[in-house]
C-alpha cells in the first residue's frame, strides 16, 4: 500500500448486525478517492455503524457482526488474514467528542507514528502535522503542555493532526463538529477542503448545511438502508427518492 496514492473504498453487500438487530442492510457503494463523502440521515439510521465498519472499529463492540466485503486496494479488509490493527493505520478515524490522549500536545501527535515504527524525523512530522491542521500558531509555544488544556476546537484539530501523522489514506469522521462552537466548526470545515487534496474523507454529519458545504457526494440512509447516493448537489437540490426529498426539506428526521 503506497501512502502517496489515496485509495477509495468499495463496499459490496455489507450487512451489519448488533446481536439480532440488523443495523445496516445489504449496502453496496463506492467511496471515491480524494473526495469527501457525507453520510446523512436521521439518528439511528446506521450511518455511524457503517462508518465504524470501514476501519473495523465495530470489532471492538462485542455483539457486532459484519458480513459482505469492504475492498481497499483490492483486498477485503474483513478477510481472515487481515489484522484490524493494520487496517486502522491506513484508514484513520476522528471521533464525535474530541478525545486527545492525556499526554502532551507533542506526544499526542508523535505517539501514533512512534508505535507504527516511524523512522523519520519525529519533530518534523509533529510540526508539519500540526501545521496542516492550522493549529501551529496556537500551540507552537506549548508543545510540552497537556493537550487536555486546549479548547474543544483545538483538541479536535489536534486529533486530526494525530490521525494524519500516521499518514493514512482514508480519514473517517464521526460528527467531528457536533461538540464544537460555530467558529471551531468553520475552522474544521475549511480544513476539510484542504485535507481533501491528500485524503479520502468520509464524514457522518447531522448538520445538513455542513454536508452541503463540504461534501462532494452524499449518501442518505434510513433505518439501515441506503436510500440514495450521488453528487451532493443532486441529493440536496434534485433528489430522485421521495424519502430523501422529505428528509432534506425537513419533513422528518
Amino acid at each position: 500500500m503506497n501512502p502517496e496514492t489515496s485509495a477509495g473504498l468499495d463496499l459490496k453487500g455489507v450487512n451489519i448486525f448488533y446481536g439480532d438487530f440488523h443495523a445496516v442492510h445489504n449496502l453496496s457503494m463506492t467511496f471515491q478517492s480524494r473526495e469527501i463523502t457525507a453520510l446523512i440521515g436521521p439518528s439511528g439510521c446506521g450511518k455511524s455503524t457503517l462508518l465504524r465498519s470501514l476501519n473495523r472499529m465495530n470489532d471492538l463492540i462485542p455483539s457486532s457482526r459484519t458480513e459482505g466485503e469492504v475492498i481497499f486496494h483490492g483486498k477485503n479488509i474483513y478477510d481472515a488474514d487481515v489484522d484490524p490493527v493494520q487496517v486502522r493505520r491506513w484508514i484513520g478515524m476522528v471521533f464525535q467528542k474530541p478525545n486527545p490522549f492525556p499526554k502532551t500536545i507533542f506526544e499526542n501527535v508523535a505517539w501514533g507514528a512512534r508505535i507504527n515504527g516511524y523512522k523519520g524525523d519525529m519533530e518534523e512530522l509533529v510540526v508539519t502535522s500540526i501545521q496542516r491542521v492550522a493549529l501551529w500558531d496556537e500551540v507552537k509555544d506549548k508543545l510540552q503542555k497537556p493537550a487536555l488544556a486546549l479548547s474543544g476546537g483545538q483538541q479536535q484539530r489536534l486529533c486530526i493532526a494525530r490521525t494524519i501523522a500516521v499518514k493514512p489514506e482514508i480519514i473517517l469522521m464521526d460528527e467531528p463538529t457536533s461538540a464544537l462552537d460555530p467558529i471551531s466548526t468553520a475552522k474544521i470545515e475549511d480544513l476539510l477542503d484542504e485535507l481533501k487534496k491528500s485524503y479520502t474523507i468520509i464524514i457522518v454529519t447531522h448538520n445538513m448545511q455542513q454536508a452541503g458545504r463540504v461534501s462532494d457526494k452524499a449518501a442518505f440512509m434510513l433505518t439501515g438502508v441506503m436510500e440514495e447516493f450521488g453528487p451532493t448537489d443532486q441529493i440536496f437540490f434534485n433528489p430522485k427518492n421521495p424519502k430523501t426529498e422529505a428528509y432534506i426539506s425537513g419533513r422528518f428526521g
Binding site: V85, G92, M93, N99, N116, L148, C159
Partner: protein
C-alpha cells in the same frame, strides 16, 4: 410559616406545605447527624480505652534487696561504672546467691559478652536477672488519676518494700525488645513488627502483579462467555469468604502440600517446617487477591472507551492501548485498591493462627523460611493471658498496629497522589 405568593386557583391544584416538607427534611438531618456522632464516639471510645491501658501507676518490687547483692551497699546501682557492673554481675553469678546462675549467665552472653555492653544495658540486666524487679500491681490511666491516694495507701500497706512508679507501657524499648515470655514488662514487639512487615511485603509482591494482571485480563481481554462470567462471579464471592477459610487453604496447600518449598528444605534450609513467613505471606497474598482484582477492575472500568478508541484509531494494538493509555490513566485508582488490600492483610489474625503462627518467638523472623509471629497474633496471645499486666502490653501493641497501618496507608496515599498529580498535569 404562612404560605406566600398564594393565588386563588392554586389552592385547588397544589398543597405546597413547605413548612411540613422542611420539618421532615430537618428530622432526617438530625438522624444522619446522630448516626455520624455514634460512629465518631465509638472511635473516640476505642482510642481512649487503648490509651487508658497504655499508661498508669505500677508497683515495682525487687525480689532480692540491693543491700544483699551489692559489693558496696552505700553506692546505688545508678552510680556504678560499666566495669564495676561487669564485676558485680560475674561475682554474683559465681556466688550463686540469686537466680542468676553461671549457666544462665553463659546463656545471656551467647548474644554479646558483658564487656561489650553499655552500662544502661547492664543495669537493666541487674534489675531483671539479679534483683528480679517485677511489677506487682498495675493500674490504668483513669484509675491512676482518680484513685491516686488509694493506690499510694495500698502500696504502703501491702507492698512496703515496693516502689510506686508511673509507667508508660508504650516505650521505644517495647518496640525494639524481642519477646521474652515471663513478665509482661520485659516483653517487646520486635519480632511481631518484623514478622508483620515480612508478611505484608510477601503478600503484596504476590498479590499486586497477579491481581493487576487478572484485572487487565478480565476487563480488557476476556469476552463475555460463560467461563469468564463464572470466574468473575467467583472472584466477587472470594472477596467475601471468611478469612479463616483462607487459613485452611494456606494450611493445606502452603504449609503441608508445598512444604518443601515453603519450609525452604528445597533450598537447603533445615530444622524448619512449613509454618514459615513465606507460607503466611502467600496465604495473606491469596486473601487480598480478590480485593485487589475487584478494585483494579473498577479502576479500569472507569476509563472511558473514548480513550481506547483514540488509541485504536491510530493503529495501536490492544496491548499498546492498555500499556500506554489505560494503565497510566487508572494507576492511581489501582493503588487505592491495593491500599485496601494492605489494610486488610495487616490486621488479619485468624488465617495466621490456622497456619501456625508462633505464640512465643524470641528470635526475629529473619527471612522467608523463618518461623513467624505478627502483630495481631501477639495482641491475640497477650489478651488471652491470665496475668493482668498483659492487658497493658496488648493495648500498647494495638496502638503500634494502628500506627503501622496508618503509616503504610499514608505512604501509599502519598504515592498515589503523586501519580494523580502527574496525571492531572497532562
Amino acid at each position: 410559616m404562612s404560605e406566600l405568593f398564594v393565588r386563588d386557583n392554586d389552592q385547588v391544584d397544589f398543597a405546597p406545605n413547605v413548612a411540613g416538607r422542611k420539618a421532615r427534611a430537618g428530622l432526617w438531618n438530625v438522624i444522619f447527624l446522630a448516626a455520624t456522632l455514634v460512629g465518631v464516639l465509638s472511635l473516640v471510645a476505642l482510642v481512649t480505652s487503648l490509651l487508658d491501658s497504655c499508661f498508669g501507676y505500677v508497683i515495682v518490687q525487687d525480689a532480692y534487696a540491693w543491700a544483699d547483692v551489692a559489693t558496696d551497699p552505700t553506692k546505688k546501682l545508678e552510680d556504678l561504672s560499666q566495669t564495676e557492673l561487669v564485676t558485680l554481675i560475674r561475682s554474683t553469678a559465681e556466688a550463686d546467691l540469686t537466680d542468676l546462675t553461671l549457666g544462665r549467665l553463659k546463656f545471656l552472653e551467647m548474644d554479646r559478652t558483658l564487656e561489650v555492653r553499655t552500662s544502661e544495658d547492664l543495669r537493666s540486666l541487674v534489675r531483671k536477672e539479679i534483683l528480679k524487679s517485677e511489677i506487682k500491681k498495675s493500674w490504668s490511666l483513669t484509675e491512676s488519676l482518680l484513685q491516686a491516694n488509694e493506690i499510694a495507701n495500698l502500696q504502703k500497706s501491702k507492698y512496703p518494700e515496693g516502689q510506686l512508679a508511673f509507667r508508660s507501657w508504650l516505650t521505644p524499648n517495647f518496640l525494639t525488645q524481642p519477646q521474652t515470655g515471663g513478665k509482661a514488662e520485659t516483653n517487646g514487639l520486635r519480632g511481631a513488627i518484623i514478622g508483620s512487615m515480612w508478611i505484608i511485603l510477601i503478600a503484596i509482591v504476590v498479590a499486586f502483579p497477579i491481581g493487576i494482571g487478572s484485572a487487565i485480563y478480565l476487563e480488557e481481554y476476556a469476552t463475555n462467555n460463560w467461563l469468564n462470567r463464572l470466574i468473575q462471579t467467583n472472584i466477587y464471592n472470594l472477596a467475601g469468604v471468611p478469612s479463616i477459610i483462607y487459613g485452611m487453604l494456606g494450611l493445606a496447600v502452603f504449609v503441608r502440600l508445598a512444604e518443601p518449598l515453603t519450609s525452604g528444605s528445597l533450598f537447603g534450609v533445615q530444622d524448619v517446617n512449613g509454618r514459615t513467613v513465606f507460607s503466611a505471606g502467600l496465604t495473606l497474598g491469596i486473601l487480598i487477591l480478590p480485593i485487589i482484582i475487584i478494585n483494579a477492575q473498577e479502576a479500569l472500568k472507569a476509563i472511558p472507551n473514548s480513550l481506547r478508541y483514540s488509541s485504536y484509531g491510530v493503529g495501536a494494538t490492544k496491548w499498546q492501548t492498555v500499556w500506554h493509555h489505560v494503565i497510566p490513566a487508572s494507576l492511581d485508582r489501582i493503588l487505592t485498591g491495593t491500599v485496601f488490600g494492605i489494610s486488610r492483610a495487616i490486621g488479619e489474625t485468624a488465617p495466621l493462627v490456622v497456619i501456625g503462627a508462633s505464640a512465643f518467638l524470641t528470635l526475629d523472623p529473619s527471612g522467608l523460611f523463618s518461623k513467624f509471629t505478627a502483630l495481631p497474633i501477639q495482641i491475640f496471645t497477650w489478651s488471652q493471658m491470665a496475668v493482668p499486666e498483659f492487658k497493658h502490653t496488648a493495648a500498647a501493641a494495638i496502638i503500634v498496629l494502628l500506627v503501622l497501618l496508618l503509616g503504610l496507608n499514608t505512604v501509599a496515599i502519598i504515592f498515589r497522589n503523586r501519580i494523580k498529580q502527574s496525571k492531572d498535569a497532562l
